[in-house]
Amino acid sequence: MPYLARRLLHGIALLLGVTFVSFLLMVYFGPDKTYDLVGKNPTPQQIGEVRHELGYDRPFLQRYGDYLRQLLTLDLGLSDSSGEPVSAMLERSVPVSLALVLPGFVLGNLLGLAFAMLAAWYRGSWLDKLITSASVVGMSISFLIIIIALQVLLCTPYGLNLFPVRGWKVEGLASYLYYVTVPTLALVLVTLGYNTRYYRAIVTTEAERDHVRTLRAFGASPVEIMFRHVLKNSLIPILTRVMFSVPLVFVSGSLLLESYFGIPGIGQVTFNAITSDDQPVLKAVVGLTGVLFALALSVNDLLYTKVDPRLTER
């Protein structure tokens, strides 16, 4: 299928770009661990030794080449600070991040969609107005504020003091809920406004199509119309949004949450890598996010053809 081939080509081009830019910024001009590793009273010669050990003294292209090879072979080397294999760090932290972000991500989208459909069905009614204005309010509250406020309200003696201030000691459902609740709430609150508004825009346009009028003219119930027809028709933009937010939510999104709630996920690993000049880790994270993103792009296009019969002949 030439279409697929084209997508693949795009994907590769994208990956090369991402890896190159990120390498240039984060590695070549990037942080320098030398001075974390030299002991007290180092001599210039010792500093040189460390730089050599870290491979900072090798030529640019060679380093970039190695980087690409690492990504291809998924042999990501060892962390400069902990000496742990980067792959091991990812295996350890990615599941945590997933567990942390997934509930909030899913809830945020589902609730957003639900509100959007309500608003669309009662287009122009007070309910619609309420939902729209609420979403504007939601969009106006910064993630930071939500996190700080929630922590004070739910995790401290100044508030309800129901949940832990930080940490992630998950053994079983109860402890999972115990630790995941506040971050989830934060995530939902911060995404809900945007999702609701975005989905409303989509669903309303779909709900005003002629064929929806036809359905009503043939006695279809609101539920059937909204869920069976409108939803399926608006699936493409919804999928697009979801697919595209996946890679970023799981890195950027969890970065703030995890560094604030002290949760050992990919976000925290990344944050520590930044503050401790841990290049191997940074390289891996950025590279893999790029890969994820390229994948998301391609998968998305495939889904289109699955969802919308009009796109099959392409």
């Binding site: 122009g124 002629d210 064929h211 009028r213 003219a217 006695g219 019969p309 009009r310």
Partner: protein, 321 residues
């Protein structure tokens, strides 16, 4: 003979950004089983709105619908809502829309869409429903029903889509079908097919058809009765034959004058109506047609003329022909 559908004092108001104006003004008429009634008027005069109002598809807050009664087989459906109303739609009264292109859901096959209607209104198993669906498609003239059932709307021509619409509208044998400009978007061949199907309906199930069109020729050919609508009001109603033979309302007369006769002898258009159709937002007081009517006098602009019986039909005019 008892009318199947009787509409009394139907009015529709649009509420857009504070200003409320009438789209349909105090319309009353009735149509009886096994025959077609034509509703004629220039586009934007409220024909479609009337139909939608009858179907109860116009919703607050965008529209306000008021009616003394809309009786379907003697049952007032104007005040129904929710479940009861939905039970009627597509079963006892159905509608065929103007744009077959967009009236069907693009992401479901024709089969799926028709079957849904059947499952909704007739307690049949999926299997039975599928059979019924195929028969319906067959009836409207799809030779290879299976193939069409599996097709998506975008894979069919406009005419075929409209036939499918009709199949869908008739699959439950409704008492009334409101056909809103069913042929405007189609080429002559398809038009013929569609109209033939509508005729078959009346013949086979004694279905009453309200044929909405701006095309007088179509109405004349296919309807027993006809109504002339202008700016949300019915100006004249009569048997099609009588109405076309001897129009009473100046507007009707004007319209008829516009129909091109066959043959080269006469110019395509003679003494067309002067002036512009007024905007629904600011209608002239009294008879809406008065400003364009050469017979108009001050009385016309004072109050809306009530429908008066005349020559077997009714005319809303102070100075009928």
């Amino acid at each position: 003979m008892k009318p199947v559908l009787e509409v009394r004092e139907l009015s529709v108001r649009a509420n857009s950004s504070g200003v409320r104006h009438r789209l349909v003004d105090n319309v009353s008429f009735s149509i009886s089983a096994g025959q077609a009634t034509g509703l004629v008027g220039e586009s934007g005069c409220g024909k479609t709105i009337t139909a939608l109002a009858i179907m109860g598809l116009l919703k607050e807050p965008a529209f306000t619908v008021t009616a003394a009664a809309i009786e379907l087989n003697g049952r007032d459906i104007s005040r129904l809502g929710g479940r009861q109303q939905r039970a009627l739609l597509g079963r006892d009264i159905a509608m065929v829309f103007q744009q077959p292109g967009t009236a069907l859901d693009p992401v479901f096959t024709l089969g799926q869409q028709i079957t849904r209607v059947i499952l909704r209104h007739r307690n049949e198993t999926r299997k039975q429903a599928r059979q019924t669906m195929l028969q319906a498609l067959g009836k409207v003239g799809f030779a290879d029903a299976e193939a069409f059932a599996a097709a998506y709307p975008h894979e069919l021509s406009g005419g075929m889509r409209q036939l499918a619409m009709i199949a869908m509208a008739t699959v439950c044998r409704p008492a009334v079908v409101l056909a809103d400009e069913p042929t405007t978007a189609l080429d002559p061949g398809a038009t013929a097919l569609i109209l033939q199907q509508l005729k078959r309906l009346q013949a086979d199930h004694g279905t009453a058809v309200l044929l909405i069109s701006h095309d007088l020729a179509v109405i004349r050919k296919n309807c027993r009765d006809a109504m002339i609508m202008y700016c949300g009001r019915i100006l004249e109603a009569n048997g099609a034959g009588a109405l076309f033979a001897r129009p009473r309302h100046p507007y009707t007369a004007g319209l008829l004058a516009c129909i091109p006769r066959i043959g080269p002898r006469r110019p395509a258009v003679v003494d067309a109506i002067g002036g512009q159709v007024p905007a629904m937002t600011d209608l002239p007081s009294g008879c809406h047609f008065a400003p364009r009517c050469e017979r108009a006098d001050p009385t016309c602009s004072r109050a809306a003329p009530p429908p008066e019986a005349l020559g077997g039909g009714t005319v809303a005019c102070y100075r009928p022909l």
